[in-house]
Amino acid sequence: MARFLTPRILGRALPVVACGVLFLVPMLTDDRYLFKVLTFVGLNVIVIAGLALLFGFAGQISLGHAAFVGIGAYTCGYLTAARGVPWIVAVIAGTVLAGVGGFLLAIPSLRLKGHYLAMATLGFNEIMSVLFVELRPVTGGNDGLRGIPFASIGAWKIDTPAGNYLLVWGVAVVVLLLTANIIRTRPGRAMRALHGSELGALASGVDTGRLKTEVFALSAGIAGLAGALYASSVGFISPSTFSLEFSVLLIAMVVIGGAGSLAGPVAACALLTLLPYADALIPGLSKELIALIQDWEADISGFVMILVLLFAPGGLAALGRRLGGTSARGAGGVQ
């Protein structure tokens, strides 16, 4: 029996088992807190799938992804709460608007590399943070937007925590599947080539400028989708959620998970998102311990990120491959 458990089969089976468990959860429990926490994980996983494409595979850093999540959230929240637009239309609008934002940011950024791209995207996130506060008629300013309705399609309202959890994770699984397919085919190879050597990619006929814009727009659009779902899941959004700190945390998730991998960043994302809510999964944890973890969350991610870069540049993905017994070489690492 054991000889069938090759890394390859494990690699295929694990995601399927994980999906199965995820969708079984609502049958096993009706713990609202647990659903809320797991919904957060699902939303972050969606953003991370897009950021892994852009940063982990194409090698283009973005410190502005929180702003794209914000664009999606405010678009969806404003359209549904203030304008009565159907939910599905609002979600699409949020996704598209964030994608267009990514496209517009990518065009002037094409010439920028490394530090400059990081600073430009960081500056973009800060500008959006100012706008989220100052565009009061749309965003509600510092008080945020309240009363955003739950997801609904026609007369069917998804208004229970379990329903919402299933919705978010359904979208997350689809996004992960599509992303994994992109990575394995022509556009994904071009992205990895761009990361490996831009000269080599150009000499192979890859239009690297166009590719960067496309990946940026796609990645921003995915972030916007997560934002739109976030708005309708939580019902309330405020500017501080979409701050630079969140962008940095997202980057930390990809780094800790391992560049050039999808499973690694998703695992890192789940771990880091669950960390402050560990009591949802592990009953018996004391309130004091949870408070302590929440207090030190930023230090933990910062420290772990530095430690990973210093001692385990391949991140969780390389660790997983080593445990799986396959060669850890050729497996990512931030370049």
């Binding site: 002037p108 990081a118 500056g123 930023a298 230090d299 530095i306 931030v334």
Partner: protein, 292 residues
């Protein structure tokens, strides 16, 4: 608007501008000797103010507290370079950027644990009523800011042009390999650049704390504005950093005077993006093409 009011705005612009210039100098020093942008530079500004407050609270006389804070922050800068950056110094820019980002997360968070989440204030260096000059009133602390900035710039210019260390730093900014061939210990130069950059940031933080108060989270804004100033002037050139800082400070304060204060913080961001996208070499920089 009368001339006294205008002068008031100019003075306030030059006050902020001098602080931006100090932070920008830190960016420029590190960039010149390593080619990397230190995303933790703003946290040195924060540490400067916070450590000085802590010193005063611990009973140190203000001048000692200020000095100790600058020295301590400089040591933190040295240590950060030695422990977190040097082991990966041959990696690509992305790795180094992320390490400095991680460093800034940790410094900020540790500062919150050590000093609490609230705004703290530092007593003014020389208490007294503001000085009235041609109808504009200028706080005494502003004179300290200008004075300290001038001292820092003069000292830095002297260091750069007249000392052995300065020559080594300039050699490193041209080429590390060539510098090594000349017998320069490049690793030491890089570490010292980080220490100096941290000291400059801290000096800015200490000098402005009596006016604006300080808190654990003032670093990222200060870092962003300092970087905007550095790139506005032209990254890598100390004079340009000072010019960039002053110009940015004036732009901000004049925009408050003539437009509105709502978007004061956005001005530096817009300047940052405009310079990055349109003229990445800065106002004073020479155009440089990237070679294939």
């Amino acid at each position: 608007m009368n001339s006294a009011e205008l002068l008031q705005f100019v003075a306030s612009g030059l006050q902020n501008g001098a602080v931006y210039a100090l932070v920008a100098l830190g960016f420029t020093l590190v960039y010149a000797s390593t080619g990397i942008i230190n995303f933790a530079q703003g946290e040195f500004f924060m540490l400067g103010g916070m450590l000085a407050v802590a010193g005063v609270r611990a009973g140190l006389p203000l001048p000692f507290a200020a000095l100790a804070s600058v020295v301590l922050t400089a040591s933190i800068g040295l240590l950060f370079e030695r422990v977190a950056l040097r082991p990966r110094r041959d990696s690509g820019p992305t790795v180094l950027i992320i390490i400095t980002i991680g460093g800034s997360m940790v410094m900020k968070s540790l500062a919150r644990h050590a000093f609490g989440p609230n705004e703290l204030s530092l007593p003014p260096f020389s208490p007294g009523v503001p000085i009235v000059f041609a109808g504009a009133s200028i706080d005494r602390q502003v004179l300290w800011i200008w004075g300290l900035t001038i001292v820092a710039v003069v000292a830095l210019t002297f260091l750069y042009s007249k000392t052995k260390l300065g020559r080594a730093m300039r050699a490193c900014s041209l080429s590390h390999d060539a510098a090594r061939l000349m017998g320069i210990d490049t690793a030491r130069v890089v570490m010292i650049s980080f220490g100096l950059a941290a000291a400059l940031g801290a000096l800015g933080g200490v000098a402005v704390a009596p006016l604006t108060q300080t808190a654990f989270d003032v670093g990222s804004r200060a870092g962003l504005k300092g970087f905007a100033a550095a790139i506005l002037g032209g990254l890598g050139n100390p004079i340009a950093a000072v010019v960039g800082g002053l110009v940015l400070g004036l732009l901000e304060s004049l925009s408050v005077a003539f437009i509105s204060s709502t978007y004061k913080d956005a001005i530096s961001l817009v300047v940052l993006l405009a310079v990055l996208f349109l003229r990445p070499q800065g106002l004073l920089g020479k155009s440089r093409r990237e070679k294939v």
